[in-house]
């Protein structure tokens, strides 16, 4: 029967749709009541204006777009506000719940033009209902009839899905929610609160719109197994828990004065809205469908005597129906009636009053019990909270005390780390002392772990181990720490070479992901037990690890630079090989000549000639010179330069000039060295200074070779405690595009250069705390200036 009604109900909608599609759009002039082309869409804002706007604004904007010539405006209203607006013709279209729609339809001629396709998860539904439910398990409520005297929660008396549907269902099962329930509470939106209240046991049962439970379960807010659905019904193609009949979804309706034409165009626009369009999704819908049959809603209101059917027509009906009976009896009892009427009325009133009072007393008693129970519970709660608070305060005081101590030690450690006057060893030593003091420990040891050996690096307190002492790790307390790879604290039960201690705490020191050292502290009382203490210790271990990592990285960089400089020297010597061979040939040739000449004289018997002695002396001098060149070369290409010390730059410059002398001669370049007064010593190695100058000199010789009057002038002078060495050539000078890149690695202008010379030169100079500059001299040619800090005398 209901199905038949619905089919019949569809027909006007279909007809309207067909008319809408077929109708020519020429009726525009009569549209837009109440001024220009503004069209107002009144929307039921059951959860506030903002929520209504955010849900429907896109749909209303869509209409403005889809129905040209009209500007649609969204106007949110409450239930009463919307009814008043409709009554005053202040809205052209109405979007409200089915129950409210029926009221407006009956009262103000509002007509539906489309029905919402509701999107619930993957489902698209055009009908909905209500679910009445209680908690599963302990609840004694198993059917709607069991709800008599129970507490019940719903949205509001006027909520269609949030109460009225359930109301009808309860009524059908003999329960008048306003009479027979123990407690009926209306809590408004959102409906989730009702579900939570039921599950929390605050009320025995409640009702919400269908799909509310499933949505909350999906959100993880509730467990559906904890719910018992009352009066469960099953409808085809309806996937949710349901306790009531199904009713059509929200309708979009036109008010009575809205033109047919505009209504049709709006209907077409709504029906053609793509279910997947953002406008549809924003509203949580899958678009709109042809208007459904709202007869079930009417039936509900009629059954409940509310809404449009709220008039007290029942008494009149009864009177009409039983007129003959009433007439007969009224004649017979007319006399009696007058006498007894007052009594009867009084009696009935009394009975009603007694019943009501009884019920009120019951309710009162229940409330009193509840109240007492609440007071007891609350008192217990407060006591528990009080105890907890006392404990918390104590714990907090302890924590604060620990915090103050660790704050003090952290500050001390920070000062140690930030002290630039401390070298890494002193820094480590101070850190160990700080931790010992902090943890009231007697001794501390930092040991390097090498090939299973334990090599003491630093120690504090009475530990019988000088730094450098080496033991096998096996058997030492450190063994456990290394095996665990993490902090270990506890008693020590054996006396090792580190002394007989009762307690120790040890932590490995990582560099990268490798354990490089182990840090241990010893004492006769357990200390550093707390988490905060251990954090302090971990921090110290991390700092020491970082210090080690940094010094290893520094060492690696230094080694790398040294190797690079060595390669630079080797390559410079290699490039100068021919020149250097000549440099050696000269004295060797002279030696051969002197010795050969002398031998011949001696053999010829003229050995007494004083000339032979002088020639032999000269030969000796030349041989020594050759030896010096070789020694010098060997020093120059030796891998590790001498320890840095006081270097006389003038001497180093002379040596450098000597090394490049033959090359200069070969290339026809004159090299002159001029030292201006006494120079302060420079903290460097002789080889470093020579390498810098040899590199600069060789470049200068190559540059000078290109020009006339080829010469290179080296000058050294003191300025502001620094030594300034300038190498100037008579070449063409530096092209502007080259100046900025001169010191880059692999930058070269020479066809056979590696491009490392100047880069190495700068690395050396900067490593010595100096600076190097390249400029063009005013008179032409390039000038390379090296500035090195001089050693101060007190060093």
């Amino acid at each position: 029967m209901r199905t038949g009604n619905r089919v019949l109900g569809l027909l006007p909608g279909l007809a309207a749709l067909l008319v809408a599609l077929a109708a020519p759009c020429d009726a525009r002039g009569t549209a837009a009541p109440n001024g220009a082309d503004l069209v107002r869409v009144g929307v039921l804002a059951y959860r506030g204006s903002a929520q209504a706007r955010s849900r429907w604004a896109a749909t209303v904007d869509y209409l403005s777009h889809a129905v040209p010539g009209y500007r649609f405006e969204l106007k949110p209203y409450s239930l009463d506000g919307l009814e008043q607006a409709v009554a005053r013709d202040e809205v052209d279209f109405v979007l409200t719940n089915p129950g409210h729609y029926v009221v407006l339809e009956a009262g103000y001629g509002v007509t539906r033009i489309a029905t919402l396709r509701n999107r619930v998860g993957e489902h698209v539904l055009t009908r909905f209902g209500a679910v009445i439910f209680t908690r599963a398990g302990a609840s004694p409520v198993h059917s709607l009839a069991d709800l008599a005297g129970r507490s019940f929660m719903a949205v509001s008396p006027r909520a269609f899905g949030g109460f009225q549907m359930a109301w009808l269902e309860l009524k059908r099962h003999g329960i008048d929610p306003f009479e027979d329930l123990g407690d009926l509470r209306f809590v408004g939106f959102p409906q989730d609160a009702i579900v939570r209240a039921v599950l929390a046991g605050e009320v025995d049962a409640g009702t919400v719109r269908t799909d509310t439970l499933e949505r909350m379960a999906q959100e993880g807010a509730i467990d559906l197994d904890a719910i018992r659905v009352l009066n469960r019904r099953f409808e085809p193609d309806f996937p949710f828990f349901l306790s009531t009949e199904l009713y059509p979804e929200w309708p979009f309706s036109r008010s009575r004065n809205t033109s047919q034409d505009l209504a049709q165009r709006v209907a077409v626009a709504l029906l053609t809205l793509d279910p997947e369009a953002p406008e549809a999704r924003a509203a949580g819908t899958a678009g709109w469908t042809i208007p459904l049959d709202y007869t079930p809603v009417h039936a509900l209101y009629r059954a409940l005597d509310i809404g449009p059917y709220a008039n007290p027509v029942t008494l009149a009906d009864v009177v009409e129906q039983y007129t003959p009976w009433l007439l007969a009896w009224s004649l017979v009892l007319l006399a009696l009636a007058a006498a007894t009427a007052w009594t009867l009325r009084m009696n009935r009133r009394l009975a009603v009053e007694v019943t009501e009072r009884k019920r009120a007393q019951q309710v009162l008693a229940r409330h009193r019990d509840l109240l007492e129970q609440r007071v007891v519970e609350r008192t217990a709660d407060l006591e528990r909270v009080n105890r907890q608070l006392a404990q918390d305060v104590a714990a907090r005081e302890r924590a604060e005390q620990a915090l103050r101590r660790s704050d003090a030690v952290l500050k001390r450690l920070h000062r140690i780390i930030g002290d630039p006057t401390l070298d890494p060893a002193a820094r480590t030593q101070r850190m160990l002392e700080a931790v010992c003091a902090y943890g009231e420990l007697q001794a501390g040891v930092l040991a390097r772990v090498e090939d299973g050996d334990y090599v003491v690096c630093a120690r504090v307190g009475p530990v019988p181990a000088q730094p450098g002492t080496r033991w096998a790790v096996a058997g030492l307390p450190a063994e456990d720490v290394l095996r665990a790879g993490d902090l270990l604290a506890g008693p020590v039960d054996h006396a090792g070479p580190l002394g007989a201690w009762r307690f120790r705490i040890g932590i490995p020191v990582y560099v990268g992901d490798r354990v490089r050292c182990v840090l241990e502290f010893f004492g006769d009382a357990p200390a550093l037990g707390g988490a905060m203490d251990q954090d302090v210790l971990r921090l110290v271990a991390q700092w020491i690890g970082a210090e080690l990592a940094r010094s290893e990285a520094d060492e690696q960089l230094r080694r790398h630079q040294e190797e690079l400089a060595h390669v630079g020297r080797l390559s410079a010597v290699g490039e100068m090989a021919t020149s250097l061979a000549h440099e050696l040939n000269q004295p060797l040739t002279a030696v051969v000549n002197y010795v050969g000449g002398s031998l011949r004289r001696l053999r010829a018997g003229s050995g007494a000639d004083a000339g032979v002695v002088e020639a032999m002396e000269r030969a000796m001098g030349e041989a020594t010179r050759a030896g010096r060149i070789i020694r010098h070369l060997r020093d120059f290409v030796r891998k590790a330069p001498d320890e840095e010390d006081r270097v006389d730059v003038a001497r180093a410059a002379a040596a450098a000039v000597e090394l490049v002398a033959y090359e200069a001669r070969r290339k026809g370049v004159r090299v002159a060295l001029e030292v201006d007064g006494a120079l302060p010593a420079v903290c460097a190695s002789q080889i470093q200074i020579e390498q810098v100058l040899v590199n600069l000199l060789r470049n200068a010789i190559d540059a000078a070779q290109e020009g006339e009057g080829a010469r290179v002038d080296v000058s050294a002078r003191a300025a502001d405690g620094r030594v300034v060495v300038a190498v100037r050539d008579s070449g063409p000078g530096l092209p502007a595009e080259v100046v900025g890149r001169l010191f880059e690695p692999f930058f070269t202008t020479k066809p056979q250069g590696m491009g490392m010379g100047l880069n190495i030169t700068r690395t050396i100079v900067e490593g010595l705390g100096g600076r190097i500059e390249a400029t063009n001299a005013p008179g032409g040619g390039a000038v390379f200036t090296v500035m090195l800090p001089g050693r101060t005398d007190d060093e």
Partner: protein
């Protein structure tokens, strides 16, 4: 023959110059040393020079340039060039410019002396030949017109009798002229006379 032939040493390095003089003088050679090419060329007298020891790498005028200038003056003086290791291209250039030999530094003293002696030997032989030709020409100038006529016939291989017939002189007179010219030309035999005239390129 007894006038000294000078050995010139041109090297910019004082120790090398000084030591070379010491070595060369130990075998009785006469040595003059020069620190640079210009100074050497200024003092250079080809006729008095036995050989030149020239360093090929020098500031100022290079060894190669010195060689070129010497060629323009007189190519007969042998030049020994000092080169360094791997200076082969320079050595080749020097040889093309007529250098007698090249020696790499450092060398063994005896090798150097041997080369110098060889150069001097060549220089002396050439010089002796020059002197002989000069002597022959001088002698030829001293011959009388009649003696030159006789010489021409002698070189033709004619007998005294035939020369006498040709010159309408007596055989005896021819014999006197012939003896005189042999003496003037310092020739002990006919063969020697012929060689001297041919060597000197004379056309009596």
């Amino acid at each position: 023959m007894n006038e000294p032939l000078w050995v010139h040493v041109v090297d910019d390095e004082a120790a090398v110059r000084d030591s070379l003089r010491w070595l060369l003088e130990s075998v009785g050679l006469h040595v003059r040393t020069h620190a640079e090419g210009e100074a050497f060329l200024a003092a250079y007298r080809p006729g008095e020079t036995g050989c030149v020891l020239l360093d090929i790498r020098m500031p100022g005028l290079s060894g190669i340039e010195v060689l070129e200038r010497m060629q323009q003056m007189d190519g007969e003086v042998p030049v020994i060039v000092f080169t360094g290791h791997a200076d082969v291209p320079l050595a080749v250039r020097a040889m093309r410019l007529g250098a007698f030999d090249f020696i790499e530094k450092p060398y063994s003293d005896s090798l150097l002396l041997e080369r110098v002696q060889r150069a001097l030997g060549q220089r002396r032989r050439r010089r002796e030949r020059e002197l002989a030709v000069q002597k022959t020409r001088e002698a030829f100038e001293r011959l009388s017109p009649r003696e030159r006529q006789v010489l021409a016939h002698v070189l033709e291989g004619h007998s005294n009798k035939r020369i006498a017939e040709a010159l309408c002189l007596s055989v005896k007179t021819i014999e006197v002229h012939r003896a005189s010219l042999m003496q003037k030309m310092d020739a002990r035999s006919l063969a020697e006379l012929v060689r001297r005239v041919v060597e000197a390129g004379l056309q009596p």
